[in-house]
């Protein structure tokens, strides 16, 4: 147990060290996890032009990463139900810290920094009760666990920091237990929600969908500058259902669901893998690796542009739209069409592409 004095000393040490920035890691625009030709996994920094700025080996398949807002540091999460996360020093190219989930907790695969980058928040499962938790970790104190708060839902997956350090949390609603792997234990009663919390644990707002959509697991999030949160869903009900997989919400108003025509919705196979909002806030996209599709909706009119690419999943905003990645090594520029920025058949890009900054 570090003393208060030790804690303060380390805070001081952190603030007096020459501060490295993402420029020291080659100024990547994105972070992605990938499996390489050798079968090994790594965390890769990509420039906006898809050039590789760094690559740090990972011990196994990753899920998502959380990028520090200023320091060249990323937290890579194992696939759920993982019990460890690695803090990667992207400038030095090595693992700087290893985070172990406390007894009785496991990670869900996403995290976000608050408090000017000094506190890391991680989505976690309280295995005993199944209740969602946000774990809090102090970066200046070597990523020491400093507490946890409730997400007010089951199966929290993605989380985002909004302005004012409000946390948006996607409570997927699905209860799992590591003893039964990814088996879903509560599909008939699942109740997903989008929670808005303070890091101190105060529930500010909570959004749920109509009862007939209670099997639509709210999983991944993106935010626009105006505070609008886009949420992507995964349908756990019967197959061939043309249910919406994307919603938009702004605190204080009702959620708005976006969908393409029935045929396209069914072709998404009830599965959205990633969601992103363009920098200008005008467009929002979701990917379905199973359906081999990217749907880009105009926020003003709700019109959908349909782009097709097998195994497409990672999606993040870019200067003129989005950048997407797929399991076949493609890094794609997304405008009103898909154009390759890089093609490396030996690389399989994992679920998410994380924009830095």
């Amino acid at each position: 147990m570090p003393t208060r004095r030790g804690f303060l000393t380390s805070l001081l040490a952190a603030s007096t060290l020459p501060a490295l920035s993402w420029a020291d890691a080659g100024s990547p625009a994105y972070l992605g996890a990938a499996k390489g030709a050798s079968g090994r996994f790594s965390l890769i920094g990509l420039g906006a032009d898809a050039s590789r700025r760094f690559a740090v080996p990972l011990p196994g398949r990753g899920h998502a990463a959380a990028a520090h807002p200023s320091a060249p540091e990323a937290v890579a999460f194992a696939r759920r139900p993982g019990t460890f996360a690695l803090v990667i020093d992207c400038a030095a190219g090595h693992v700087a810290h290893r985070l172990e989930a406390p007894e009785g907790r496991h990670f869900y695969g996403h995290g976000a920094f608050v408090a000017g980058g000094t506190i890391l928040c991680t989505t976690e499962n309280d295995m005993g009760s199944g209740a969602g938790r946000i774990g809090l970790w102090s970066r200046p104190d070597g990523y020491r666990r400093i507490g946890e708060v409730a997400t007010h839902g089951i199966g929290p997956h993605d989380l985002l920091r909004l302005s004012g350090d409000v946390l948006a949390v996607a409570n997927g609603g699905i209860r799992t237990h590591p003893d039964t792997g990814r088996e879903k234990l509560n599909l008939d009663t699942m109740a997903p929600s989008l929670s808005y919390l303070t890091p101190e644990g105060e529930l500010l707002d909570q959004v749920t969908l109509d009862p007939e959509l209670h099997k639509n697991s709210i999983r991944h999030l993106a935010a626009a500058a105006d505070g609008t949160v886009a949420f992507a869903m995964q349908w756990q009900g019967e197959a061939m259902a043309p249910v919406p997989l994307l919603g938009l919400h702004r605190r204080g108003s009702a959620p708005r669901l976006l969908a393409a025509d029935d045929g396209e919705q069914i072709a998404m196979q009830g599965y959205a893998g990633s969601v992103a909002i363009s920098w200008d806030g005008a467009r929002v996209g979701i990917t379905s690796p199973r359906g081999g599709r990217l749907h880009v909706f105009g926020r003003a009119d709700g019109a959908c542009t349909i782009l097709r690419r097998p195994d497409i999943c990672g999606l993040a905003p870019s200067a003129d739209g989005f950048t997407a990645t797929d399991g076949m090594g493609g890094v794609l520029r997304v405008t009103d069409r898909l154009a390759p920025l890089a093609a490396d058949p030996g690389t399989a890009w994992d679920n998410h592409l994380i924009a830095i900054g």
Partner: protein, 327 residues
């Protein structure tokens, strides 16, 4: 006769196979056959749109569709064509509800091809047409009835999609052949077409295993013959057999070498399919017949595993990295 024997032996043991063979011998010939069969259905409907007159041509078109139904990339995915042609399974009963609704309303949208292409996919395609041709409460329509016009419109729509798919595949074949070349934004490497055909093969097999067989099988305690595909027309078994034959042909076309284990498993499966009595899978409720359907399902699982070893591995492709993960 000698020529026929020679051709057969060539088919069984292709000296060279791969993406080009999958294009030429499999995809292009299957899309042509479907365009022709759907065209014949539309022509028949132009002469006589009553159920009795349309059934043989509808069955021929369905047969032809099963030759390409698994090619779920490229032209079949444009404009939701594959789903518009064959909307199944339909656990929510969208087709019966939509078809009955359109007939009850006598919706004039059926009168033009442009209008009809805009109706719900649940009112289009082979399964919506099956309702008109086979459902007891609908199929007795007369030549001047609204239902007859609807059947005609459905047939025209199928023919239009069949032609569009065949035409698009001619161009798409060139896109596949230039995989990895500058300017090809669809296939970024030579490996991607192999991946696409291989995924079509394994996904197609999974569809037969999990849906066409799995849905009527249900569980031993709760068999669901009512969930069989094309229940009204009683062609669930025929659909399985023709699908398996098409998938076997795709496997042979795509494989870089001999595939003895895969071939053997396909052969066992087709033999087993030949032993199933009830063409609509109503036998799944009878333990003695059920066991045969279960054996067929298991043999197809083996064929899929063998194909992974004999085709996926040498081609350097496997199931989608993200598609098969899910998180």
């Amino acid at each position: 006769m000698r020529h026929a024997v020679l051709a057969l032996s060539l088919l069984a043991t292709p000296a060279v196979a791969g993406v080009e063979e999958a294009i030429t011998d499999h995809a292009l010939s299957a899309t042509d056959r479907f365009a022709e069969a759907a065209g014949a259905l539309a022509e028949t409907a132009g002469n006589d749109c009553t159920a009795e007159a349309l059934r043989p041509a509808w069955n021929d078109a369905f047969d032809a569709w099963l030759g390409l139904a698994h090619l779920r990339f490229g032209p079949l995915e444009t404009g939701s064509r594959a789903l518009s042609i064959a909307f199944w399974p339909d656990p929510r009963g969208m087709i019966p509800r939509t078809v009955s609704g359109i007939v009850a309303d006598a919706d004039p949208i059926v009168e033009t091809p442009e209008g009809f292409a805009e109706v719900s996919i649940a009112a289009r395609g082979l399964f919506a047409m099956e309702r008109l041709l086979y459902a007891e409460d609908l199929s007795a329509y007369a030549a001047g009835d609204y239902a007859c016009t609807l059947a005609w419109a459905q047939a025209q729509d199928l023919a239009r999609m069949g032609n569009a798919i065949a035409e698009d595949w001619e161009a798409f074949a060139e896109t596949i052949r230039t995989a990895g070349e500058a300017g090809n934004d669809t296939f970024l490497s030579e490996r991607e077409p192999r991946q696409a055909f291989y995924t079509a093969l394994t996904t197609g097999m999974s569809f037969v295993i999990d849906q066409r067989l799995g849905r009527p099988l249900g569980s031993f305690d709760d068999p669901r013959p009512d969930r069989a595909e094309a229940r009204l027309s009683g062609r669930a078994l025929r659909n399985v057999t023709l699908s398996v034959e098409a998938l076997r042909d795709l496997a042979r076309a795509l494989a870089p070498g001999e595939i003895p284990q895969t071939d053997a498993a396909f052969a066992r499966a087709l033999t087993t399919a030949g032993r199933i009595d009830a063409g609509d899978f109503s036998g799944v409720s009878d333990p003695r017949q059920r066991i045969v359907v279960e054996a067929l399902q298991q043999q197809l699982v083996e064929a899929r595993e063998n194909a992974a070893n004999e085709i996926g591995v040498p081609l350097g492709v496997s199931a989608g990295f993200n598609a098969s993960d899910g998180d």
